[in-house]
Amino acid sequence: MEIQRQIFIFSEDITLVRELIGAAQVLAEGKPAILSALVIGGSTSVEQMQNTGVDRIYRLDTLPPDCLVEDIFQTLWGITQEIKPDYLVIGATTAGRLICGRLAARLNATALTDIQSMEFDAQGLLIRHMVFGGGAQRLERPLRQPVVMTIGKGQFEFQAAHSEKVAEVIPVAFTPPETRAILRERRELPPVSVNLAEAKRVVCPGRGIARREDLTMVEELAHSLGAEIACTRPLSEGLGWLPRERYIGISGAYIKADLYVGLGVSGQVQHTIGITDARVVVAINRDAEAPIFKQADYGIVADLYEVVPALIDALRSA
């Protein structure tokens, strides 16, 4: 009999767990595998995982108050030493990325991050993920076992077949790390003002906007379109004109809007990767050579300072 694959999943973000199970289903290749998960929290978290095909749920009640989620590493290490998984599937949160790296380093294993898809061929697992800021995709084959990977939101669908299997729940104790950072204070950041991923229409100023006060004109256009305001990364991180959650692209937001209007956006791939799923792309830019026009449905080569007021008028009078 073939040895069953051991797959281990972890995310402190319970909303990611089903997608991790989805990824684990791919990794099992339709054969019986042993799926274990570590969960932080009470019985509701455990319930959410029951009948999903998970065999064993290692449950840690709670973390000490001055500890970080990442401090679960030593506990997690203990479990992985026990079950020796072939695949460790970690949710791609900030803590998850840190845990993934530490696991990979300690296991001298392969770390594969932000996986978009996986398949098996005759020689084994192949994964696909983005490189060059979204400019390219890379197909990779891990050459060492175990494989540690992170998976982000929206990449793997959970095949929701109800499983009769009731997972064994194994309580685990927290193993404190030898040295660690001491959490002195945690503050909720002000609620995110926008969820660009959900926006129906998006207006996106880029470097073609000369002054911060010109954003008033952009706001006016957004208002007449019923659109959210996004931006390119330099406007947010470089200039600080708009908050981080409003920039589109690699490490920023990915939109699925019906309409995207780029204002003075040059269209570098790091940005345009985030608008691939927009239904209609409009580009307004003075520079006819701007790469954004190659990815636009409608292009206007003109000064945005003339086009935007005219567009606002046209939308108002309509």
Partner: protein, 258 residues
């Protein structure tokens, strides 16, 4: 204390060329220090300026990273020394190999208390190498750091942004921190610093200099290709501003997106 700032020197992603068959080439790309790494260098230099100590910049890669323009650029931004681990075995190195090389190089340096990384490399952005180096060194390791202050008792006060929470932490030294791009704005080198840069020391180490005899790849790169692109109409509107705007509004209405 010495502060090591790890930098990745890569082909500029903006110079990526996509062939008609979807192939991707970096042959004509300019090699430079990753834009996410420069804020880490600046953060290190500011700490050294405030509290003393020396910033040593460290990078590893093939002979393509060893260019005088790149070296000068790094040294004119405030690093006192530059260590380059150069070996063509580092071509397409994955995070596991790079982390091993950086760990060994850091161990060869003396009195290092703090190692800084950017949030991710310009070419791969896997956000892994820094945390792997931290684990290999066995030091306290944090990512998503957006502020670092040195406390008097040989510890750091660190602010970290984790999803929708800000954390304030006391971090014992030695430590490895991966800092976000908004930790600080990288400086523009002054004329004086540019002149001074050519007098600074660059160490070129081979893998055997740091005790590594051969690297086993942990990942095989099977294929690199352009990502699928949505097909777009590519309709360029013409005429006066008013005509173009009115054509646009009509088209958007036809498409049912207004």
């Amino acid at each position: 204390m010495n502060i090591v700032v790890c930098l990745k020197i890569t082909p500029d992603p903006e110079d990526l060329e996509i062939g008609p068959d979807g192939s991707v080439s970096t042959t004509h790309a300019e090699w430079k220090t990753g834009s996410f790494d420069l804020p880490a260098l600046e953060a290190g230099v500011r700490l050294a300026e405030m509290h003393g100590g020396k910033v040593i910049a460290l990078s590893a890669g093939t002979s393509q990273i060893n260019q005088s323009k790149v070296r000068k650029d790094i040294l004119s931004r405030g690093a006192e020394e530059l260590v380059l681990v150069v070996d063509d075995a580092l071509k397409d190195a994955s995070t596991a190999e790079t982390a091993l090389v950086l760990e060994k190089a850091i161990r060869k340096l003396t009195d290092v208390q703090l190692v800084l990384f950017g949030e991710g490399s310009a070419d791969l952005y896997f956000q892994q190498t820094g945390v792997q180096v931290g684990e290999r060194l066995g030091w306290v390791t944090l990512n998503a750091v957006q502020d670092v202050r040195l406390l008097e008792n040989e510890a750091l006060e660190v602010q970290r942004i984790v999803e929708h929470e800000l954390q304030v932490l006391d971090v014992p030294l030695p430590a490895v921190l991966c800092v976000t791009s908004d930790i600080c704005e990288p400086r523009l080198a002054s004329m004086r610093e540019i002149l001074r840069a050519s007098k600074k020391t660059v160490f070129e180490w081979s893998l055997s200099d740091i005790g590594i005899e051969g690297l086993t790849p942990s990942v095989e790169i099977v294929k690199v290709m352009a990502p699928p692109r949505a097909s777009r109409k590519g309709e360029m509107l013409s005429g006066s501003v008013e005509e173009m705007v009115s054509a646009l509004v009509n088209n958007l209405r036809k498409d049912g997106v207004l």
